[in-house]
């Protein structure tokens, strides 16, 4: 039984090694076969992420074989770490909530500050046409309107004045053109 188990473990180890070696060979061959791989173009990977990901699923291979690019790995880790420290995850912060005690305390503090502040200046009184009190206004508005006599008087007066103005004529008294001593 033990020999069978050891055989099975060996087989699985060999299988994983074989797959890792095949993967490496494939990647190497693929690199060699592709002449454009070394040329930096728009398809070139900046961080070699696909190769890293290819190695991760095979832990036996990574444990048995040393990492191929430790510098890249450490640089990537460093970049990830720096990004993680610089990013503020707002969504993870959760809603900003105050406890009831802190809330009432702040209300008290703000109310005290507002009460201590100087009172705002009184609004300036209207300079022209100040409104009269309600009672006086009602009394004024309930008074009779302009009497008909006054209305007729102003109407007739303005009509007469307009007629008089329309009759305005320049009266001729003397010659406007004065003859000079022209020979």
């Amino acid at each position: 039984m033990q020999s069978d188990e050891e055989d099975n473990a060996l087989h699985s180890c060999f299988d994983s090694l074989k797959s890792a070696v095949m993967g490496c060979c494939y990647s190497i061959c693929h690199k060699e076969n592709d002449p454009q791989e070394n040329i930096i173009n728009e398809r070139t990977h900046l961080l070699e992420v696909p190769e890293q990901q290819h190695e991760i699923p095979v832990p036996v291979a990574s444990a048995s074989t040393p990492p191929r690019k430790p510098d890249e790995q450490s640089a990537l880790n460093r970049i990830l770490h720096e990004t993680a420290t610089n990013v503020i995850d707002v969504g993870a912060l959760g809603p900003y909530a105050l406890e009831a005690g802190a809330y009432s305390e702040r209300v008290r503090a703000y109310t005290a500050r507002v009460a201590a502040a100087p009172a705002p200046p009184a609004p300036a009184p209207p300079r022209l046409l100040a409104d009269v009190p309600h009672g006086e206004r009602t009394a004024l508005l309930s008074k009779p309107a302009l009497s008909n006599d006054d209305k007729d008087f102003i109407t007739n007066s303005v009509k007469k004045a307009a007629a008089a103005i329309s009759e305005l004529r320049v009266e001729h008294h003397e010659d406007l053109v004065v003859p000079f001593r022209v020979p």
Binding site: D150, F153, V158, A161, A162, A164, I165
Partner: protein
């Protein structure tokens, strides 16, 4: 030349309780001012009558009455001429 206008003004001033009279054209030029009516008020009076005509376009012409405790100022427009009569309150 303006005898007719002078006669009309005299007639208005002879009315009881009338203390002043002013006549102005549509541009606010004072054509006649007697009694307590001052020449400088012509522009304001014409402006008031214009605004009254805008507020009440159906009334032809609207009469504006400015009142104080003792005096009354009646303003009315006829064509291009605006007249104002200052009266003492009875």
């Amino acid at each position: 030349m303006e005898k007719d206008l002078d006669r009309v003004i005299e007639e208005i001033m002879s009315t009881p309780n009338v203390s002043g009279c002013l006549v102005a054209d549509h541009q606010g030029l004072c054509l006649a001012a007697t009694g307590s009516a001052h020449v400088d008020a012509a522009g304001v009076i014409v402006a008031i009558s214009e605004q009254a005509c805008k507020i009440q376009p159906n009334l032809k012409p609207p009469t504006v009455c400015l009142e104080t405790d003792k005096k009354q100022c009646l303003i009315q427009r006829h064509g291009t001429i605006t007249g104002a009569i200052y009266k003492l309150k009875v």
